[in-house]
Symmetry: C2
Subunit: 195 residues, 2 copies
Amino acid sequence: MARTQGSHSAQTGPRIRAAALRLFAKHGYAAVSMRQIAAEVGVQAGALYNYTPDKQALLFDLLRGHMDELLRAWQNEPAPAAPDQRLEAFVRFHIRFNLARPEAIFISYMELRNLDPENFAVIESLRKRYEGALTGILRDGQAAGRFTVPDPALATYALIAMLTGVNTWYRDKGRLTVDQVCDIYWDMTRRMIAI
Amino acid sequence: MARTQGSHSAQTGPRIRAAALRLFAKHGYAAVSMRQIAAEVGVQAGALYNYTPDKQALLFDLLRGHMDELLRAWQNEPAPAAPDQRLEAFVRFHIRFNLARPEAIFISYMELRNLDPENFAVIESLRKRYEGALTGILRDGQAAGRFTVPDPALATYALIAMLTGVNTWYRDKGRLTVDQVCDIYWDMTRRMIAI
DNA sequence: GCTTGACCTGAACGTGCGTTCATATCCATC
DNA sequence: GATGGATATGAACGCACGTTCAGGTCAAGC
C-alpha cells in the first residue's frame, strides 16, 4: 500500500516546512524528530526524504528562507532621504516584520548553533548584511550632524537587541497594539540616538 | 571493578554541574547526552545518578542556582539614593555580571523551554523579581522628575534586552574593555531614560 | 583489622532516533 | 486503457538515548 488519495508534491513540501518551523520553534531542533514532523503533516517519516535530503537541510532552508525574505522586505521598503526618517522606518519595519513571524525569528536566534559550520557561515553573513543597513543609517545621521552615535557598531547591536526583544513579551490582545509598541520604541530610539 | 582512586562526592558533584553547564551552553540541553556529561567528568553515565535524580533536575539546578546568585549579587550591591545613580549601577552591574558567566546566561535564555512547567514557573518568577528591580528604579526616577519613562514596563524590557545583548557580541581581547562597554551602554541608557 | 556505607562500574532495559529501500498506488499522458 | 514517473508506505538498519541495578572497591570509624 502507499500514496493516499490527493497527496501532491506542491502541497506536501510547504506543509513539511510549516510543520518543521512550528515544531522547531516550540521544542527546539534537537528535540524534534522526523517522525513528529511527518505525523504533523499526516505522512510517514520516509516520505519527508522526497523533499529534503536530511534534517539539517530542513533547518537550513527555513533559516535561509527567512533571511532572504527579511532582506528583500527591507529593500522594498521606501527609503526616505533624511537619516531621522530612515531610522524611524527601520525601527517600525523591524518590530512589525518580527512580530508577524515569531516562530521564524525564534529559531533564527535559537538554532544557529545547530547549523553545520558552512550553513552557519551563510546565515551569519546574511545577518551581518541586515545589521549593516542599520549601521549605515547611524553613520549617515552622524555625518549629517543629526545623530549622536559615539560607537555605531555598538549602537547597532544595542538597537537590534532592544527591538528584537519585543518578540519575547508581546502578546496579541495584550495591553498595547503593534502601533503603540512601535511608537514607544521609536521614541526610546530617538532619545537614545538623535541629537 | 569500580570506584577509581581519589573520587569523592565533594569533587564529583560540582564537576558534573560544571560539565553540564559547559555542554548545555555549547550544544543545547536536548543535544547533550548523560554519557557525554559523564565522559567529560571521567566517569560512567550511571554514576551521575548519585548526584541528580535525572537530566531535567540537572538543568533546573543550574538555572535555579544562577538566578539565586544573580538576585543575591544585586542585593549585595551598594544602592545609591539618587535614581540616576541607581540606574547607572544597574546597567554596569548587569553587563559585568553577565559577561562574567556567559554560559549560565546563555542557557538561562535558551533552555527555558526545556524546563518542566513547574520548574519553568520557578525560574520565571525569579526572573520577574530581577526585572522588577529595574522597573522600580525607573518608576522612582520618573516620580522624582529625573527620568522620562512613558511606559516603565516596556522600558524595562527594552533595557534588559539591550544590556543582555552584549553577551552575544563581546569578546575578550576585542576592541573594547568591559569598562568601555559599560561606559557606552550607560551613556545610551542615560540618553534614552534620563530627563 | 573488620565492618559499613559511600561511590563507582559495566551491563542491561526498552525506546526512539535519522535514514534507506523495496514495493504499492495514483495521476497525467498518450 | 496501457504506461511510466512521481509520491507514498511500512518495515528495517544500526545506533544512541535516559535510566536502573547488582556487584566491586575504597576509606573512615570502631
